[in-house]
C-alpha cells in the first residue's frame, strides 16, 4: 500500500470518529454513531497491518496481543455494573496514557521503525513531540490510577494535602519542561526515563488533593489529557487519524470539565488546586437548631399518593445504594395512579458527567422523562412533592442566599419551591461541601432516614 493511500484511509477513519461523536447529539442517532466509531477503528487497524512491513513471527504475536486485550476488554464491558462506570472510565484512561508512554519509549529506542532517524540521532521535532506525548501520557496514567482508586473506594475520597504541595508541583512542572528541552539537545535515554518518572509523580500529586465530589471534573480533565497524549504521539508518527482523534478527545474532555465546573460555580483552577470538601471542613453548629420532622415510608407513600405531580431528584446516594430500579418501580406505581412523574438531574450529580442519566436509563426510565436543570427548574413551583434521593448540596438554598457559603453561586435545583419535600438520607450529616442544608429544617420537609434502596422499596409496598 502506498503512503498516500494509507494517509487518505487514515483521514477517513478520523472523519468516522467525528461522526461517532456527532451521533451522540441524540439517543436515536447514537447507536449509529458508535458503529461509525467501530468502523473507523477497524479501518485504521487494517490499514496499519497492510502498510507496515510485518514479519510472520511478529504478526502472530501481534494477533495474540490483540486477542488477549480484546477478550479482557470484552469481558469487562459485559460484566461491569453501571454504578461502576466512573471508575471504569478512569481505568480506561490510565490504559491510554500508559500505551502512549510505551509507544513513545519504543520510538525512542528504535526510531528507524518509525522513520524518525537513527538511535541517538532522532529529528529534533520528533523528539519534542514524543517527549510531550510521553509526559502527558504518564501524567494521564498515574492521575487516572489515583482517580480509579478513589472512585473504587480503595483510597479515601477525602483530599490529601500537605504543606508546600503547590510549590512541589510547580517545581516538578518546571523540571519536566527543562528535561524536555534538554532531551532535544542531548538524546539521553537516561534523561528520557527521568522525564517519564517525573511525569508519573506529578500525575499522582495533581490528583490526590482533589476530593470525591470533584471527581466529575477530574475524570473529564484526564479524558482531555489522554487526548492530548494521543495527539502528541500522532505528530511523532505523522498519523492523521491519531492527530484528529487526539484533538477531538482533548477538546471533548476540556468542554466537559468546563461544564462540570460551571455546574458547581467554581473555577477550574480552584478545583485543580484541590483541598475542597472532605472531612476537614469545620461545621458551623447552629446552637438553636430547629427540630426536624422525620417520617417513615408510609407517610411518604401517603404524601405522594395525594399529589398530582412528583419530581424525583437523584444524586450520588442513589448510585451508592443501587436504588435506581426501586425508584423506577416507585415512579411506575405513581404513574398508574395518574400522578405526573419527572426526574431532575443536576449537571454534577454523581461522580461523572451524565452518571445519573445512565443509571436511570439502566432502570428503564425513558430518557424523555429525565430533565436537565435549566429545563425543569421552573416546574418545581407547581409541583406537589419533590422526592430527593441521595442528593444534598445541589438542592441547598444557601447557594443563593449566603455569600459566605462555600457553595455560594452554585446553580441549584429549586427543590425548595415545591409544596412538600421528601429527603431520603441516612442521617442529618452534611453533604460533601460540609455545610448544613437548611431545607432539612423546613416545615414542609419530611426527612426519611434510611438506606435509599430500602426506603424506596418500602414506599412501593405502601403505595400498593
Amino acid at each position: 500500500m502506498t503512503s498516500n493511500l494509507a494517509a487518505s484511509l487514515y483521514l477517513i477513519s478520523g472523519i468516522l470518529f467525528i461522526l461517532a461523536l456527532r451521533g451522540l447529539s441524540s439517543p436515536e442517532t447514537s447507536r449509529q454513531g458508535n458503529f461509525f466509531g467501530i468502523l473507523g477503528m477497524a479501518i485504521a487497524i487494517i490499514v496499519t497491518f497492510l502498510f507496515v512491513n510485518i514479519s510472520f513471527g511478529s504478526l502472530l504475536f501481534i494477533i495474540c496481543s490483540l486477542a488477549i486485550g480484546g477478550s479482557i476488554g470484552t469481558t469487562i464491558a459485559y460484566r461491569i455494573s453501571m454504578t461502576a462506570m466512573p471508575q471504569l472510565v478512569a481505568g480506561f484512561h490510565s490504559l491510554v496514557g500508559l500505551a502512549a508512554v510505551l509507544v513513545a519509549l519504543s520510538a525512542f529506542y528504535n526510531p528507524e521503525a518509525f522513520g524518525l532517524g537513527t538511535l541517538n540521532n532522532i529529528k529534533t521535532a520528533s523528539l519534542v513531540e514524543m517527549s510531550i506525548g510521553a509526559s502527558i501520557g504518564a501524567i494521564t496514567f498515574t492521575g487516572s490510577v489515583i482517580a480509579f482508586l478513589k472512585l473504587q473506594g480503595l483510597m479515601s475520597g477525602s483530599p490529601i494535602t500537605f504543606k508546600g504541595q503547590h510549590l512541589l508541583n510547580l517545581l516538578i512542572g518546571i523540571g519536566i519542561v527543562s528535561l524536555i528541552i534538554y532531551i532535544t539537545i542531548n538524546q539521553s535515554s537516561y534523561i528520557f526515563g527521568i522525564l517519564i518518572v517525573g511525569s508519573f509523580l506529578i500525575g499522582i500529586f495533581l490528583i490526590i488533593p482533589i476530593g470525591g465530589a470533584d471527581m466529575p471534573v477530574v475524570i473529564s480533565m484526564l479524558n482531555s489529557y489522554s487526548g492530548w497524549a494521543a495527539a502528541g504521539i500522532g505528530f511523532t508518527l505523522e498519523n492523521t487519524a491519531l492527530i484528529i482523534t487526539g484533538a477531538l478527545v482533548g477538546s471533548s474532555g476540556a468542554i466537559l470539565s468546563y461544564i462540570m465546573c460551571k455546574g458547581m460555580n467554581r473555577s477550574f483552577f480552584s478545583v485543580i488546586l484541590g483541598g475542597f470538601g472532605g472531612t476537614d471542613v469545620k461545621l458551623q453548629k447552629d446552637k438553636d437548631r430547629k427540630p426536624v420532622k422525620s417520617g417513615n415510608a408510609e407517610d411518604a407513600a401517603f404524601l405522594m399518593k395525594n399529589a398530582s405531580s412528583v419530581i424525583i431528584v437523584p444524586g450520588y446516594g442513589m448510585a451508592v445504594a443501587q436504588a435506581q430500579h426501586a425508584v423506577r418501580e416507585m415512579a411506575d406505581n405513581l404513574k398508574k395512579n395518574g400522578i405526573k412523574v419527572k426526574y431532575a438531574v443536576h449537571p454534577v450529580a454523581g461522580r461523572m458527567p451524565g452518571h445519573m442519566n445512565v443509571l436511570l436509563a439502566e432502570a428503564n426510565v425513558p430518557y424523555d422523562e429525565v430533565f436537565e436543570q435549566e429545563n425543569i427548574n421552573n416546574d418545581f413551583a407547581s409541583t406537589d412533592v419533590a422526592f430527593v434521593i441521595g442528593a444534598n448540596d445541589v438542592t441547598n438554598p444557601v447557594a443563593k442566599t449566603n455569600p459566605q457559603s462555600p457553595i455560594y453561586g452554585m446553580p441549584i435545583l429549586d427543590v425548595e419551591k415545591s409544596k412538600s419535600i421528601l429527603f431520603v438520607k441516612r442521617s442529618l450529616s452534611p453533604g460533601y461541601a460540609g455545610i448544613d442544608n437548611e431545607l432539612f429544617y423546613r416545615d414542609n420537609t419530611l426527612m426519611l432516614f434510611a438506606d435509599a434502596k430500602k426506603m424506596t422499596e418500602d414506599i412501593v409496598k405502601h403505595l400498593n
Binding site: 456527532r22 439517543p27 464491558a77 491510554v96 500505551a99 479524558n223 478527545v249 461544564i259 442519566n357
Partner: protein, 104 residues
C-alpha cells in the same frame, strides 16, 4: 519555499480542535457518560503506533525491548478499544423513549 509537512499536520490538528469543540457542544448532556467512554475507545487508535512499535524490524533476529513495549501497548489499547466501544454500545441500548419499551 516548500512548506514543511509539519505545518499541514498542525493545520489538521488545529481544525480538528474546532470540529471537536462544536461537535461536543451539540452532544446532549444525558449522553455525557457514553461520550466519555466512546472518546476513550477512539483515543485508543494509538494502537496504530503500538503495531508499528511491535513490528519494527531490528538488526537482531529476536524481539528487542522496543518490540516488547509495542506488544504490551497493543494489549492495553485493545482492552480499551473492545471495552470502550462495547460498554458504550451497552449503555446506548438502554436509552429508550417512552411508549416504545412497553411494546417489548
Amino acid at each position: 519555499m516548500e512548506i514543511d509537512p509539519f505545518i499541514f499536520r498542525l493545520s489538521i490538528f488545529a481544525l480538528s480542535i474546532f470540529v471537536g469543540y462544536y461537535v461536543v457542544w451539540s452532544v446532549t448532556p444525558s449522553l455525557h457518560t457514553p461520550l466519555m467512554s466512546v472518546t476513550n475507545a477512539i483515543s485508543s487508535v494509538i494502537i496504530v503506533g503500538a503495531i508499528v512499535a511491535a513490528s519494527g524490524l531490528t538488526s537482531q533476529t529476536g524481539f528487542e525491548l522496543s518490540n516488547i513495549l509495542g506488544f504490551v501497548a497493543i494489549i492495553l489499547a485493545a482492552i480499551n478499544i473492545f471495552g470502550g466501544f462495547l460498554v458504550t454500545q451497552r449503555m446506548l441500548r438502554m436509552y429508550r423513549k417512552k411508549k416504545k419499551e412497553k411494546v417489548k
